[in-house]
Symmetry: C2
Subunit: 268 residues, 2 copies
């Protein structure tokens, strides 16, 4: 008897723990689904690595998730998403760039969109290219923000120093007159408050988690991806390639108030 | 005929490019020696990884350097140095903790020593333990500074935001009345100016590069390590596990005005 694919979990992959913002959103939205999360904490950050190295790591991480049997994999990491199309996968791969670009192109009123992301994501030009395909009249302004992930990991997400760093990174985008800002890294939703302070009320933020949720919901409706309908509340398991108290504390903070943030070691 | 060991290069290993501050100092001091540098830029930072993972990576990196034939290896990375004694090596291994602790214990007048380092180095308690062995009456005050490496890599080493971060990290150490500060990470010498602003004139900084230079000079004098005496000016080769324009720019900045900062890829 063939296995009922709908019962398999959805894999969520990230270079670290920032992708837990995506996991949290997907669990709220698709509460019957099971999830398996893999964070490559041993090799974080991907944002400063070359495309070739990111492809190699991504392939290894997908092999780990597929070995656990999943029905799809969400590549929550933007830097890894830029390389997703170069890597083979036996199950559908959801990357975050396309959905984020789509949402931004629908949101903007003045056709001026900003992107904040890691250096790798900015260098790949993935958001400008995607948006160009969707609506060539939109102008895209990018800003690499390598300090934001370490600031979140230091726990300074509500802090005057972080506000100063965010202000410096966003100033050129505000000067360019953007009305929409893509948060092009899974850690950044944790900094929404700091972003809002600098952006003011007239700039809309686009969060990858919500954008990818839209796409998965569409695929469930179109039966491209089999949804789980057994009435049971979904479970989740967290794997990371390195485990430490700092990582567990960060996982608890992102998944709060969910108490189950125990990390299991994945040796890749 | 047995190979003349004195002619072999000295290997210098670091988790990234910060160790180039050590390489630069060693080249200035031992100008006839050849050097081979390996920076594990694909897996940087080590500072947030677990001891087990650091040991695994260190063993792989030592194997790479030994394969190139070296007469000794300097483990410039503090986080890796904490694990050096758990890893086997066919050639002498020089780690930075012992020499730094020795220099600090000689420097301090009031027996109050501060240590700034990555989280892994602080957690390992390596500096307090080493200093305890040398002079138990010295009190050691530690501070983990996870944001300093990203700030250096962003190129903000002479910047008001960096001064604020340094001020926040050093304040508890100054309040504790230290008169000596160990720069317990190879990136930190690049921030000496920012440290000096916060520390004022009465706190001495201990730089790992100089401390390890002292130890190697002693071993040359004692013939524990064969020095090269062929009159030729030494060469150096740089290998990194990931190569990017950002890394090359950082290497050039640290090795300036030396123009030869070309990185070769080491696939580990």
């Amino acid at each position: 008897m063939a296995q009922d694919k709908s019962l398999l979990p959805i894999g969520v992959f990230d270079s670290g723990l920032g992708g837990l913002t995506v996991l949290r959103h997907l669990r709220e939205r698709f509460s019957h689904e099971d999830f398996v999360y893999l964070g490559d904490t041993a090799r974080i950050p991907y944002g400063s690595k070359s495309p070739r190295t990111i492809q190699r790591y991504l392939a290894q991480n997908l092999a780990f998730l597929n070995h656990l049997s999943v029905k799809a994999v969400v590549v929550a990491c933007n830097s890894a998403s830029t390389q997703a199309r170069f890597v083979e996968s036996p199950v559908p791969l959801y990357e975050v760039i396309g959905p984020g670009a789509l949402r931004a192109s629908i949101t903007t009123q003045n056709s001026r969109v900003g992107v904040v992301a890691t250096r790798a994501t900015v260098m790949s030009e993935c958001y400008p290219k995607e948006i160009e395909k969707l609506k060539p009249s939109i102008e895209v302004f990018q800003q690499a923000c390598p300090l934001l992930v370490p600031l979140v990991e230091e726990g300074w997400d509500d802090d005057p120093i972080t506000n100063l760093v965010v202000y410096r990174y966003l100033s050129p985008l505000l000067a360019a007159g953007i009305d929409t800002l893509i948060l092009g890294c899974t850690h950044y939703p944790i900094l929404k408050k700091a972003f809002a302070k600098v952006l003011g009320g007239h700039v809309q933020m686009v969060d990858s988690a919500e954008a990818i949720g839209d796409q998965i919901e569409r695929d469930f409706q179109l039966h491209k991806l089999p949804a789980k309908h057994d009435g049971r509340t979904g479970t989740f398991h967290l794997y990371t390639t390195d485990v430490s108290d700092t990582f567990e504390a960060l996982a608890r903070r992102i998944l709060a108030p969910n108490p189950s943030a125990k990390l299991e070691l994945a040796e890749i």
